[in-house]
């Protein structure tokens, strides 16, 4: 535990508090601007990772049709075919040069930064005497911006150190909303229509649940952290846009941004997705019909299986697996 806190304090907390205070000093004693510029710096440092990750994802998506062909080829679920399927997909990836290290979710990388910033913001405005004693330990001895303590945490009418739920009335609702919205748009940009049903499912979940959850959590964050997440998402969207080949954004059935080519590709993918969906529906219907006919047979023989007839969808998913 001691090693962990030593690592945590020296690698995350100290650099964070020092850079925040230095930026505060440089930017005319404005904590809001210092948090925003901190966001920009962090995002710039993470650019190589983001680029790598977007490229990986793009490659993965390009491989989708080939993968599906493979899956169709090895439909039987015996141990042998499984192994073969795995081997061949691996070979496919190797050919395309997909590397797993760059595939780490962007969320995971940002997590320590969020936790660190949450604590750094609260620590930088001590509300108790021991908080004061504690704060001095985080400053490097050369950092003269310690003399700017206590930081003026007021930024466009919000107390950045205070929790969002205590912010003045428009902001306490607006901050979670813009955090959720920016996250939603970022997710939207990262995902492109996929023909793999399982991937579709997770994409949908991530697309909706993540922003909603973060909007709810933001209520409990210091306003400064909400500002960080918001600007980080905005930066993420911008980077994603230029690195990911200017993908268009689809909102309410309309396409925004993007170049002519990327839009065309996007529409193509959408159509492919629709087609697979329709095919699936047809398959499901067929199966349902066959199920029902089986059920009828069973009922006739005196054994009714209520569950399957009540919830044919569940049944069909099972059969897909």
């Amino acid at each position: 535990m001691n090693i962990f806190s030593l690592f945590w304090n020296n690698v995350i907390m100290k650099p964070m508090i020092n850079s925040l205070s230095l930026l505060y000093d440089l930017l005319g004693n404005n904590l809001g601007l210092s948090i925003i510029s901190f966001t920009v710096i962090v995002r710039f440092i993470l650019i190589p990772l983001t680029i790598r990750q977007t490229k990986q994802m793009k490659r993965m998506q390009d491989l989708q049709p080939q993968l599906q062909a493979l899956q169709k080829k090895y439909k039987n679920k015996t141990a042998q075919t499984r192994q073969k399927l795995q081997q061949e997909t691996m070979a496919l990836y190797k050919e395309a040069g997909v590397n797993p290290i760059g595939c780490l979710g962007p969320l995971i990388i940002q997590m320590p930064i969020w936790i660190g910033l949450y604590r750094a913001i609260l620590k930088s405005a001590p509300s108790s005497p021991e908080g004061f004693v504690d704060l001095s330990k985080y400053f490097y001895s050369w950092n003269s911006s310690i003399s700017k303590v206590p930081f003026d945490s007021n930024f466009i009418g919000i107390d950045l150190v205070d929790f969002v739920q205590f912010a003045p009335t428009p902001w306490q609702f607006a901050l979670p909303l813009i955090v959720g919205l920016s996250m939603f748009i970022q997710q939207k940009f990262t995902t492109s229509p996929s023909t793999d049903p399982r991937q579709q499912q997770t994409q949908q979940m991530m697309l909706w649940m993540m922003p909603i959850m973060f909007a709810v959590f933001t209520w409990q964050f210091p306003a400064g952290l909400a500002v960080y997440i918001f600007f980080s998402n905005i930066m993420g969207i911008a980077i994603q846009y230029f690195v990911g080949g200017k993908q268009p954004l689809m909102l309410f059935g309309r396409l925004y941004f993007g170049t002519k080519e990327s839009r065309e590709i996007y529409i193509e993918k959408l159509n492919a997705q629709k087609e697979t969906k329709q095919n699936q529906l047809k398959e499901n219907n067929n199966k349902e019909e066959s199920n029902e006919s089986k059920d009828i047979q069973r009922e006739n023989s005196g054994r009714s299986n209520r569950r399957s007839s009540k919830n044919p969808k569940k049944r069909s998913r099972k059969s897909r697996n």
Binding site: K94, S128, M210
Partner: protein, 464 residues
């Protein structure tokens, strides 16, 4: 064994909550986390970890299949929810427990405010708290305030915060039976420093006031202690710009207050009696601006006032003419009271420096780094004709430094405590009593330095 289980537990958590987020997937039929679990169970923690590391290496060097297998939708949310709980819970730390132990002049008992804001009266003979003598009945809140003995009663303060909304409470307890005489509620945190002048209780809010139009303004409260109908009532409030962390100080009939806006205010205490809000100009003697926020206590020595600011500057000025001050750079924050000894000033900064200052020309003579953080006020102790200086360090108890060795900073032993320590010890007959931040009272024998008794004030029982 414990480590092994912990590793397995962590792996299970990874598998359940984190791995769905990572787009990569293991290239083997048994996933890497499952493999490591099995191998750790079979071959022990060291070999197991090594083998799983090797496998991870092999795995990550090879291209990997991308497919999210989510059987259970709920799994996706476990990780963010746990993370959220983790970040919201990491903020709970012990607060308060800075109160010094105050000895009753009749030597029969002593008083202390626990970190939960409860004042105890403890009998010196047996170290047991007096039954039915404590206020409030239930410890709820925080206290940094020393109990103050005034005539036949004890005065102290505490506060209770919910988020940023704080409720302060100042109260007077009758010393003989522990009955409460009056309680006054203040809508803010209360600074630990409380002073009494001519039956007037003077204290300040610690933090900026809530529900005040100017969020940066604090208040100095004046409460009447006269035995009339007005007793326990606020007879005046002096608004001050900026948060007050230093507290109010009384010296030579004057009140001194320093703020985080970097100002030092001086008021005439003799004119407080008929103070009303209109006559603020009459009681105000001086207001001096300094470049940085003043966060240390104020110290008085031989008609000079001393304090330090957040830039690590240490100031000294004459009481009568505070405008002309001398300053010296300490390089770090100073919270503890300096020791005035052998016509030298020893200051203690939060990075563990002991800095010796020549009072006449206010120059640094020597700096010793001891890596001991001193927050509580040091005390001078005399044993068998030898003088010792007791330094309450934050984490390792009280360091004993022989006076002749003081310039070298060499320790000659310590009264060690495991808990954090922010208060100053009480030396009574052959006993040394320490109040830790988690409100344990530790009793040491002065000479042998043995811990012979420990009382947990919050549990009201002998420590485990």
């Amino acid at each position: 064994m414990l480590l092994k289980n912990l590793a397995i537990l962590l792996l299970s958590f990874y598998k359940f909550a984190i791995s769905p987020y990572i787009l990569s997937q293991c290239c083997y039929a048994i996933s890497c986390s499952d493999y490591s679990k099995i191998i750790i169970k079979e071959k022990g923690i060291i070999l197991g970890l090594l083998l799983s590391f090797l496998r991870l290496l092999k795995c990550t060097l090879m291209p990997i299949k991308n497919n999210l297998h989510i059987n259970n939708r709920f799994r996706l949310f476990i990780f963010p929810i746990l993370l959220f709980v983790f970040i919201s819970c990491t903020n709970f730390e012990h607060q308060g427990g800075w109160s010094n132990v105050v000895l009753d002049p009749d030597n029969e008992s002593f008083f202390v405010s626990s970190n939960e804001g409860k004042v105890f009266n403890i009998v010196t003979n047996d170290g047991i708290p007096r039954i039915n003598w404590s206020y409030p009945d239930e410890g709820k809140g925080t206290s940094y305030t020393d109990p103050i003995l005034y005539k036949d009663s004890v005065i102290s303060a505490k506060f209770d915060c919910r988020g940023k909304n704080c409720e302060g409470e100042v109260f007077e307890i009758r010393k003989s039976d522990g009955q409460i005489i009056w309680v006054k509620n203040i809508p803010s945190k209360i600074n630990p420093r409380i002073e009494i002048y001519n039956d007037i209780l003077i204290f300040s809010s610690l933090d900026k006031q809530n529900n005040v139009e100017d969020p940066k303004s604090s208040q100095i409260y004046l409460i009447s202690l006269k035995n009339d109908s007005n007793k326990g009532e606020v007879i005046g409030k002096i608004p001050v710009l900026g948060e007050i962390w230093s507290g109010v100080y009384l010296y030579d009939g004057k009140i001194f207050v320093a703020t985080m806006e970097g100002s030092l205010y001086i008021y005439d205490a003799t004119k407080l009696e008929d103070f009303s809000n209109n006559s603020l100009d009459q009681i105000s003697i001086d207001a001096i601006d300094f470049p940085h926020a003043i966060n240390s206590q104020l110290f008085f020595h031989e008609n000079r006032i001393m304090f330090s600011d957040v830039a690590g500057k240490f100031y000294s000025a004459s009481i009568d003419d505070a405008k002309t001050f001398v300053e010296v750079d300490l390089g770090n924050w100073m919270i503890a009271k300096p020791v005035f000894h052998n016509s030298l000033i020893y200051t203690f900064t939060l990075n563990g420096d002991i800095i010796t200052i020549q009072p006449e020309n206010f120059e640094i003579l020597e700096t010793i780094n001891t890596d001991k953080i001193v927050v509580g006020d040091p005390k001078v102790l005399e044993i068998d004709g030898d003088e010792y200086i007791l330094l309450p360090t934050e984490k390792e108890g009280i360091e004993i430094i022989n006076n002749s060795e003081f310039d070298k900073g060499n320790s000659s032993g310590r009264y060690s405590t495991e808990k954090k320590l922010y208060s100053s010890p009480l030396i009574f007959e052959n006993n040394l009593i320490i109040h830790t931040q988690e409100s344990e009272l530790l009793f040491f024998k002065v000479k042998s330095r043995d811990l012979y008794y420990c009382l947990d004030l919050n549990e009201e029982k002998i420590c485990d």
